[in-house]
Amino acid sequence: MGRNPVTWLGSPTFPTAARTALADVQLRGNLAHATGTIRTKREAAVGELPDWERLRRAGEAIKDDVLSNLDVYLTRLEAAVTARGGVVHWARDAAEANEIVLGLVRAAGATEVVKVKSMATAEIGLNEALEAGGVSAIETDLAELIVQLGEDRPSHILVPAIHRNRSEIRDIFRATMPGASPSLSDRPAELAEAARAHLRRKFLSAQVAISGANFAVADTGSVVVVESEGNGRMCLTLPRTLITVMGLEKVVPSWRDLEVFLQLLPRSSTAERMNPYTSVWSGVTPGDGPREFHLVLLDNGRTATLADRVGRQALRCIRCSACLNVCPVYERTGGQAYGSVYPGPIGAILTPQLGAGTDDPGTASLLRSLPFASSLCGACYEVCPVRIDIPEVLVHLRGRVVAEKPAYAPEAVAMAAASWVMVSPRRFRFAQRLLGPLRLLARRGRVRRLPWPASLWTDSRDVPAPPRETFSAWWRRNRG
């Protein structure tokens, strides 16, 4: 068995999935509205800080130090967590992590767990694994709950139900939420109240909670979760047993480093100066909070990604979603087209790396399509709080895809021919003359239809008719 991929099995390639998404009028409207709003707010929140660029550079530097010294910081974290009464587990991949968590839940004698919103557990498909093991997992983040109740898939890192508007949410609640009133309206306050009543019952009965981690401080073994709703805080404090699944790269050396990210993350993510709830815990504290704490450190393709000098910068990611909100591709296709829990620009560089080595051919073609799901406009790099040069990584990963193509693949042949022509001025001038006859197809200075593959262009756009004389020919005639 190959490594458990981070994608949803059976997902089509990006261009195919995008075609379906683009035709969804409701989705397009919801996303344009939501991303437009958060984009404007983020700009204002970031604009308040005169040292924003220095903060970004600090965030980048701290993450790069962590990635270069992971062994040091992770063993330091393990020692500190253990010293404070926690138990640390190491998971090579999704299957191992799921097995560890299921074993811990069973040992606690629970059949139902409450969950704090977590990308790591979504990445490894923990809910499905628990379900298969007879344990039901209840998402307590409002947007995750909407996705879970709707038997849907997430489409955004921060707001997984961003593709849903409030009337759709009302319909989901009415149909699936135990105890929801059939006369529930689509007023946000009423929807929130319904979710609150539903979740409160779960918080009070759950024996086990499962969370992810935004950061973990190696020096003191402190794990950090930031959130907006307070539901995470309920999970982190009420149940007897707390299990945290955390990607290896989330460790930071010290509290001073944490301070940088607690400025970068909320402003980039929710456009807030500070997020409403920041929970920090160090092992277990007798008489206060969970009596048992387990930290599962997850690799799942991360150390393999670390080996790539260009690609490894994707591991700096703090999951803020700023790149999604500014991405013109994401804004139109939504997140599900990316076939994984990591959508948008960061997904296009993270998913192919974490999932590399998959033995599922469908997944492999999806992974190959992702680095091309970008016009390289650079808006993502501009906003990334840890300065991940996403366009650079996209191009690098495109190079990997190209390197795997056979030399006789049509695109490879065409690109080789193009460079053979263009490296020689003589051949290039000759090729320019060959375009001349295209003028015969032109009406009023434009060509409306060309055969495949040029039809991919002309299906929606005209091609200008080539001029009677190229500039170089004109220069030679008049100035040469």
């Binding site: 995008a18 013109p328 091309f372 016009s375 650079g378 895809v401 020689s424």
Partner: protein, 243 residues
């Protein structure tokens, strides 16, 4: 002393938009430059680079570096190609480092090197400006093209809504993800039409070919024109497209 400038026409402009290159020559000569066109120039290699064909891109970059080796200033009417040379050439090969530091996009060259904003142009039309992604985010041209346009006599500049949003071209992206590209184009066109402008201008013929290809397909009556052609136009000699 006159400034000696090498014109990097770019393969697309040379082949499809010779009027733009002629406009650059006319404009720079009017501002006292001596313009040369090294005839060996072909393509900067950006399409290969961005599609993942780094080896072939490097071959083309080395050819380009050789072609422009003798010039202190290389000017391209394209933020995208100038961005390729300036941002990415240094990482490709030791022989492609030097040309990177000497290459300018047209509006940068006018404002930063020649130190002019009013180039003496006259263009009595309602115009809107699309800031192309690479000029904006790789080169950081900022307001320079707008400052040049604001100084054009007779020109009514109208602001383009959501101007900084990509038009969806993206080189081979327009083919590999044609549907998404077209959706981006549709929004860009809607914003252009909302301005009521008769002319859409930009510093890149690649983006203009994309947006213009959509605008003519829908017979919108809005034309696309490279910034250089507007700046080259004067009251005495209004710019006329070659038939």
């Amino acid at each position: 002393m006159t400034t000696r400038v090498a014109l990097m026409a770019t393969c697309l402009t040379d082949t499809f938009f010779p009027d733009t290159a002629r406009a650059v020559v006319r404009l720079l000569e009017r501002l006292g430059c001596t313009v040369e066109f090294p005839p060996a120039q072909t393509c900067c290699g950006q399409m290969h680079y961005n599609t993942g064909y780094r080896r072939q891109a490097t071959t083309l970059a080395r050819h380009t570096a050789r072609t422009f080796a003798d010039y202190d200033a290389v000017v391209a009417p394209s933020g995208s190609c100038a961005g390729m040379v300036r941002d990415l050439y240094p990482g490709l090969h030791r022989s492609t480092v030097r040309v990177a530091g000497r290459t300018y996009e047209l509006s940068e060259f006018l404002v930063d090197v020649l130190g002019v904003e009013d180039v003496g142009a006259y263009f009595p039309h309602r115009v809107t400006y699309h800031p192309t992604c690479h000029s904006l985010r790789m080169l950081g041209v900022g307001e320079k093209p707008l400052r040049l346009l604001r100084a054009v006599r007779g020109l009514e500049l109208v602001e383009l809504p959501a101007a900084r949003s990509c038009c969806g071209f993206g080189g081979t992206f327009a083919l590999k993800n044609a549907d998404t590209s077209t959706a981006m184009l549709a929004d860009k066109m809607r914003n252009v039409l909302d301005t009521g402008a008769r002319v859409l201008t930009a510093g890149d013929n690649s983006c203009l070919m994309h947006i213009g290809g959509g605008l003519t397909r829908l017979n919108t009556g809005v034309r696309t024109l490279h910034l250089a052609e507007i700046l080259a136009s004067t009251e005495e000699e209004p710019w006329v497209a070659t038939p």
